[in-house]
């Protein structure tokens, strides 16, 4: 079911929600990798940080993404017992994940610069 999106499929009906979601989607993956790169963490820590940063509204979003990143070999996890509650999945970056993140950092910088450069020429409303 999860395939690369074909935007052409529903080209005529452009909706702002969709555009925002598209934008966020790639960034969200980048953010997740960035958070995990600092230290191994479990879901609730990731969620906490993403929520603080107002990257996500609902938690449910995170799980499919984590699974996908894990299946892509960028993340791995280990189980750790917790004093309260069920055992937790601690996510960590794999070697591929680290390289992937480095490239994403580069790409992000380029992207931000490009957007800023374009927006400089825009007359503010």
């Amino acid at each position: 079911m999860s395939r690369i999106t074909s935007t052409a499929k529903k080209a005529p009906a452009m909706k702002i929600e969709n555009s925002k979601a598209q934008m966020k989607k790639g960034v969200l993956e980048y953010c997740i990798l960035a958070i995990i790169s600092r230290k191994d963490c479990y879901v609730s820590e990731i969620i906490h940080e993403l929520k603080e940063a107002k990257m996500i509204v609902v938690e449910g979003t995170l799980y499919p993404l984590l699974t996908r990143l894990k299946n892509a070999g960028l993340l791995s996890y280990r189980w750790e017992e917790s004093r309260q509650g069920p055992p937790r999945k601690y996510y960590t970056l794999t070697e591929t994940g680290t390289k992937y993140l480095d490239e994403m950092d580069e790409s992000w910088k380029e992207l931000v610069e490009a957007v800023e450069w374009i927006n400089q020429k825009r007359t503010p409303h």
Binding site: G60, P64, L65, N71
Partner: protein
């Protein structure tokens, strides 16, 4: 006081209020429906359940041990509705489903299940109904499936629902997803329904009744089939035994001489009636005509017990074809053989009897050539009332028919007519001439043979001999008792017939015989 339910979420036990439980169940159903069947879907579901367990745990303390509706609402709001998830695949929710499965009682016969499915699949509901009925005939539980669909598929009542029911055409690529969605929806509505008190108290019972009825219908159908099958097998076996027994019937001769009694068998005798080739053809045809229906009856019976296969129709069809061929063969043989009997003719021989002026002539029967066996009621020899018989070699013995008539002049006269049938006049005449019937007159005694003989090797074509004895007016004839069984016409003043004429002396008057005196 509130009733709580104990649940196991991701391996942790929670006590939860009943209303909260229903809300949680709905939410998890939604999550299941969303992720089920995807790559890594189960893992995602587990992660979500685990996280929810964690969040629930955080909300409980020594003072608060039971999850409330508010807890569930808060946590599920936190987790978010699947349609709000940001995913790699662009959501298509805004487009909506093109079609939904509803019942369509307006166009339905029972519950509108078939017409609803027809609308959903864009086919004429007649086909759905046909499939349902055919499947129900074969598999009783399909009736149950129908009843469950009736019970759980919602009825299209509002305009919107009817639009959704008709919807736009479904493309193949959508069907898989549709089916999954519909399945989840039906399942979730079933679950919701199952949780209600109403269901627990009433519908579960109803469900069991449906299931029970379904089983009974199926069982009854199978029992009836088995009974019919058993009856057919018994019938078939009875007919086989009957046919087998019929070969031993002794009426008036054995059909086949199975015991070697020396009596000529019917089949042996019949071979002089019809040609040998015809006999064999007829035998084969009759055997097939009798055996094939019995075989079909037996086969059908066995198949009703064991179930019909694909080849069975072919076998039964082949049986029908062979049976029709046998029928045609039998008919053809009969027509062919009837030709041999189509023409009847006779030869006649008239003699003036020298009786040396005697006033009375004595009729006597020479029984020297008696057959070994008398045939009184052989069907195919019985159209004439003559005495007939046969011997061990199958030669036929046929008695003459004797008429006593008035002579046109004053001499005793004798006319012997020999009759026969045949395929042509010439052949009939030839067969008639070949009859050897002997008589003689000595003094005033007319000696007539009791039979003429037809060799077994020569065909029987209903040969007959008619003996006419002409008695002059005023002369007498003595008829012994043993001769009366051969008598045909003999008009007399006593109005006696056949068996009462013998044992008397008769005098011929102007018109008829008059009783002269009785023999001692």
């Amino acid at each position: 006081m509130k009733k709580t339910i104990k649940i196991n979420l991701s391996g942790i036990i929670f006590h939860i209020d009943e209303d909260a439980y229903e809300r949680l169940n709905d939410y998890l159903d939604k999550i299941h429906g969303h992720f089920k069947g995807r790559e890594g879907g189960d893992e995602i579901i587990n992660d979500i359940e685990m996280r929810m367990a964690e969040l629930f745990q955080a909300r409980l303390s020594d003072h608060k041990q039971v999850l409330s509706l508010a807890d569930v609402e808060e946590v599920s709001k936190n987790m978010g509705d699947p349609k709000d998830f940001i995913e790699e695949e662009e959501k298509t929710e805004s487009a909506g489903r093109s079609r939904k499965l509803y019942r369509d009682p307006e166009h339905g016969i029972l519950g509108g299940v078939a017409s609803g499915m027809g609308a959903y699949l864009n086919v004429d509901p007649v086909w759905i109904r046909l499939i349902f009925v055919l499947l129900m005939l074969g598999y009783g539980f399909i009736a149950l499936v129908y009843l469950l669909l009736w019970l759980f598929v919602p009825k299209a009542t509002t305009y919107k629902q009817k639009l959704e029911m008709r919807g736009e055409n479904i493309t193949i690529s959508h069907i898989e997803q549709r089916v999954k969605e519909e399945y989840d929806e039906v399942r979730s509505s079933v679950r919701k329904y199952q949780r209600s008190e109403q269901y627990k108290n009433m519908t579960r019972g109803l469900n069991e009744i449906f299931m029970f009825l379904g089983r009974i219908l199926k069982g009854a159908f199978q029992v009836i089939l088995i009974l019919i099958g058993a009856a057919l097998i018994i019938t078939g076996i009875s007919i086989i035994l009957g046919l087998f027994g019929a070969t031993f019937i002794h009426w008036p001769f054995p059909v086949f001489d199975v015991f070697g009694s020396g009596e000529p068998s019917l089949t042996f005798l019949a071979s002089s009636l019809v040609g040998n080739t015809s006999m064999i053809l007829m035998g084969v045809a009759v055997a097939l005509l009798l055996v094939i229906p019995v075989f079909v009856v037996l086969y059908t019976g066995i198949k009703l017990l064991t179930g019909f296969g694909r080849k069975d129709k072919g076998i039964l069809l082949a049986g029908l074809v062979v049976w029709l061929v046998a029928l045609a063969l039998a008919g053809g043989t009969v027509v062919w053989q009837v030709r041999d009997f189509s023409v009847r003719t006779y030869t006649s021989q008239e003699t003036i009897l020298e009786t040396s002026e005697a006033e009375t002539m004595l009729l006597d029967i020479n029984e020297s050539a008696d057959p070994a066996y008398y045939v009184d009621d052989l069907p195919f020899l019985d159209d004439q009332e003559e005495l007939k018989g046969t011997d061990k070699a199958g030669n036929l013995y046929i008695g003459p028919r004797i008429n006593i008539l008035k002579s046109p002049d004053d001499a005793y006269r004798l006319t012997i007519k020999k009759w026969s049938r045949g395929p042509s006049l010439r052949q009939a005449a030839r067969l008639a001439e070949s009859i050897r019937y002997k008589w003689n007159i000595q003094d005033s005694t007319l000696m007539l043979d009791s039979h003429f003989r037809i060799e077994h090797s020569s065909p029987y074509r209903i040969q007959q001999v008619t003996v006419s004895v002409y008695v002059p007016e005023g002369k007498r004839i003595a008829i012994p008792a043993e001769a009366e069984q051969y008598l045909g016409r003999a008009r007399n003043d006593q109005n006696l017939w056949r068996y009462e004429i013998g044992g008397k002396i008769w005098e011929m008057n102007k018109e008829e015989l008059t009783l002269y005196k009785k023999l001692n």
